[in-house]
């Protein structure tokens, strides 16, 4: 078999910084960052102007020219470290540069470090935010009790070392001298763990002399850090977009001649001008289609993580549509339109729904079949072809009867029915998910757990082209 044209995984590629930078841009593109040729040219021009010896300047110059949004910037940060770390390690593996021999010479293990002392120093470094020092201490910690008991799995080892050191986020116990120490927050501790991880990886690469294959970023990593404010704002943005689209959808029907009704009274009146002969027909004004929306939202434990997102979608919908009725369900269905209409604050809404919703009956597991039955008997009389039903849920029935035929009736009465599922498409119909049974009756079923998915949904609903899914 001829060797792969791209060489083995650890191939450092052609030498020189230009090639490395192009490789970096290539990797960014594969993660969905739109890096154009003009951006690359700008990046090179920018690098001409800054000193390469400063890590920060180098990175910022690249970022300013390549990453043109907050999302891009975040992917950039994740990849920048990884890419150049890998590039350096690949070079080291190829040239056979290692640190093991030096370590042996320094008499590793001969001098066992005092754990307390080490912990103290690490705390200081974390509090001071001294990156270089943290890196050195991470190496010391690994040397002290990383290797001998190492499991070989980096993630596990990081946590084990952290525990052995007795480091945790939050308020710190006072030092031996009795002085108060500033608390370490999660963020700072993560910084140290990052160094630990980096050094463990370096160690592993050196021992095995191969680079692990580079993986695409996980969806979870690339999503922006979830601050409720940001999320809410983004959801509101997507929904207000949806409102505009739905509103213009209604307008399309205006002025269309087909299906207009003659207004007899006005026609007769107009005929008076022409001696009672109805020469000109008068039509009834056509009312634009009012978006009338029913939203059903699953709030059971299996969608706990998505619930907050869904509730914020509901919250935003209520901001935008007046003719909207919302329901939450677990085992039973309960209308919460009122709660949303009278309460502007999202936190309060969420709390009231969990306390007053009254949707959990016995087990607290979702019972989709029963929910459809209840919805059909109680509400569906009010459904008409102008109404849109949106279901937010994971279609996990916990083994109960899905009653797809009841769902079909609901779908028939409603003008349109959409399903937003918080699980990736991959997991649909796995385990107790009966998505396929329901999907047949929907006008569209979408995976939806980020605002990007929501925007995609809005696009499709409004008849636009779906935004390409980025993996």
């Amino acid at each position: 078999m001829p060797p792969s044209p791209y060489g083995p995984q650890a191939d450092p590629g052609p030498p020189g910084l230009a090639a490395k930078l192009l490789g970096f841009c290539e990797e960014l593109r594969s993660e969905g960052v739109a890096v154009g040729t003009s951006e690359i040219l700008d990046a090179f021009a920018a690098l001409d102007e800054v000193s390469w010896t400063s890590h920060d300047d180098f990175r910022e110059a690249l970022a300013a020219t390549i990453a043109k949004s907050q999302d891009d910037r975040r992917v950039f940060e994740l990849l920048f470290d990884r890419y150049f770390f890998r590039a350096a390690e690949a070079e080291a593996v190829q040239r056979g540069v290692g640190e093991q021999s030096e370590r042996a010479a320094a008499g590793e293990g001969g001098e066992r470090l005092d754990i307390d002392q080490l912990r103290e120093q690490i705390r200081e470094a974390i509090a001071a935010g001294d990156e270089d020092r943290m890196r050195d201490l991470a190496r010391l910690a690994i040397a002290a009790f990383g290797r001998a008991e190492g499991s070989g799995v980096v993630g596990v080892d990081v946590q084990r070392i952290r525990r052995t050191l007795g480091l945790s986020a939050g308020a710190q116990p006072p030092s031996e001298a009795g002085e108060e120490r500033p608390p370490i927050d999660r963020e700072q501790l993560n910084g140290f763990e990052r160094h630990l991880r980096r050094e463990l990886e370096r160690d592993l690469i050196e021992r095995t002399e191969t680079l692990p294959p580079s993986r695409p970023l996980a969806e979870l990593d690339r999503a922006l850090p979830t601050s409720p404010t940001q999320d809410l704002a983004a959801v509101h943005r997507a929904v207000s977009q949806m409102k505009r689209r739905l509103a213009t959808l209604g307008h399309e029907q205006r002025g269309r001649r087909k299906g207009r009704h003659v207004d007899v009274r006005r026609t007769m009146r107009a005929s008076l001008e022409t001696g009672g002969v109805p020469l000109r027909l008068r039509y009834r004004p056509k009312r634009p289609r009012r978006p009338e929306i029913y939203v059903l939202c699953d709030v059971s434990t299996s969608v706990t993580s998505a619930s907050v997102f869904f509730l914020s979608v509901l919250h935003a919908l209520h901001d935008s549509f007046r003719k909207l009725r919302s329901f939450v369900f677990i085992e039973r269905i309960s209308e919460v339109t009122e709660v949303f209409e009278h309460e502007r604050d999202f936190a309060v809404v969420a709390q009231r729904i969990s306390s007053e919703g009254g949707v959990a009956d016995v087990s607290g597991y979702t019972d989709y079949g029963r929910v459809w039955l209840e919805f059909l008997t109680e509400i569906s009389d009010e459904l008409d072809p102008r109404s849109t039903v949106i279901v937010l849920g994971d279609a996990r029935t916990n083994g109960r009867e899905p009653h797809a035929e009841v769902f079909a009736q609901v779908a028939e009465r409603a003008g349109r029915l959409f399903w937003l599922n918080p699980e990736p498409k991959l997991y649909w119909n796995y385990g107790d998910s009966v998505m396929a049974a329901y999907e047949r009756f929907c006008d569209g079923a979408f995976e939806c757990w980020t605002t990007r998915h929501l925007e995609n949904f809005v696009n499709v609903v409004a008849g636009g082209t779906p935004t390409p899914e980025q993996s």
Partner: protein, 293 residues
């Protein structure tokens, strides 16, 4: 402003009262060296507009500002023909032939320059601030493209007007809508965020120098606590500075619950926000010490 290195730019900005962080200084530096526009994004009140103003002060250039709003069009942003003057010219022309008049009334004499044109045509180099670009329509963005990449404006009747001096262009956006790729491609990108405790303290103390350090730290800590809440409008840097000045006027020595409740309206400006802040932050502050009398 000396534009020799990033550090010099940072220093020059600091001299005119703007404490830039590393990325901001670097991008300002690159903008001057590469002659590219800068797109600054970030939440409201982190000093995006102020950066442009500071650049103008630091470089000694005039600031030309275009405030964007929905419905902003060419005639408000670039140029407009002075219709009345043209009419007068035609009426006063009398005997002149059509050719002459036509050539005459479409000359630069009859052109009303608007901010963008002004920036391009200026003899002296300027700083052009296009504020809140996200408020405009996409069409307007498209119109800017020629200006941003080539620093020229094409007037059909007159031809191209190219910049004689290179302006520093700063565009700001509150991220209320996604800008087009084409626009972003032509710009350097800078994301400004709320500063950390140390930097915000420096900023506050720069603008309210009489404020004692301990009080400044306390103030910034409270502000950061407030920002961490889920508010409709988190307090901006300008509001921290206002608050600092207010505390000075009140002669406060420490931020206790009473002072906080009295002056909270400086930093929080929504009814629901005020309730939330009072509930979450107010109670964490110490009760005011009992006053004698």
């Amino acid at each position: 402003m000396a534009d020799g290195s990033v550090a010099e730019v940072k220093e020059a900005l600091a001299k005119v009262g703007y404490l830039a962080d590393e990325p901001a200084a670097l991008v300002s530096f690159l903008a001057q060296r590469l002659g590219k526009p800068v797109l600054v994004e970030g939440p409201a009140g982190v000093g995006k507009t102020e950066l442009a103003k500071a650049l103008s002060r630091a470089t000694g250039r005039e600031l030309v500002r275009l405030q964007c709003y929905e419905g902003l069009d060419e005639s408000k942003a670039m140029y407009e023909w002075n219709y009345r003057k043209q009419l007068l010219r035609i009426q006063a022309g009398g005997e002149a032939g059509w050719e002459d008049v036509q050539e005459d009334i479409f000359s630069s004499e009859f052109l009303l320059t608007r901010p963008l044109m002004q920036a391009i045509a200026s003899e002296e180099p300027v700083v052009l601030l296009i504020d809140e670009i996200d408020k405009t329509d996409q069409e307007f963005e498209a119109m800017l493209l020629e200006l941003l990449s080539d620093f020229q404006i094409t007037i059909p009747e007159l031809g191209q007007v190219s910049a004689t001096t290179m302006p520093i262009v700063v565009l700001t956006s509150n991220d209320s809508r996604e800008l087009t790729e084409a626009l972003k491609r032509r710009c350097l990108y800078l994301w400004l965020d709320y500063p950390g405790v140390e930097r915000e303290m420096e900023i506050v103390r720069l603008h309210a120098p009489e404020l004692p350090e301990t009080l400044a730290r306390r103030l910034v800590e409270v502000i950061q606590m407030v920002r961490a809440l889920d508010l409709k409008k988190p307090p901006s840097i300008a509001e921290s500075i206002d608050w600092a000045r207010t505390l000075l006027l009140m002669g406060a020595e420490d931020i206790d619950r009473e002072t906080f409740n009295q002056s909270m309206s400086i930093i929080v400006k929504h009814r629901t926000d005020i309730d939330l802040v009072a509930e979450r932050v107010g109670v964490k502050l110490a009760e005011a010490p009992a006053r004698s009398g």
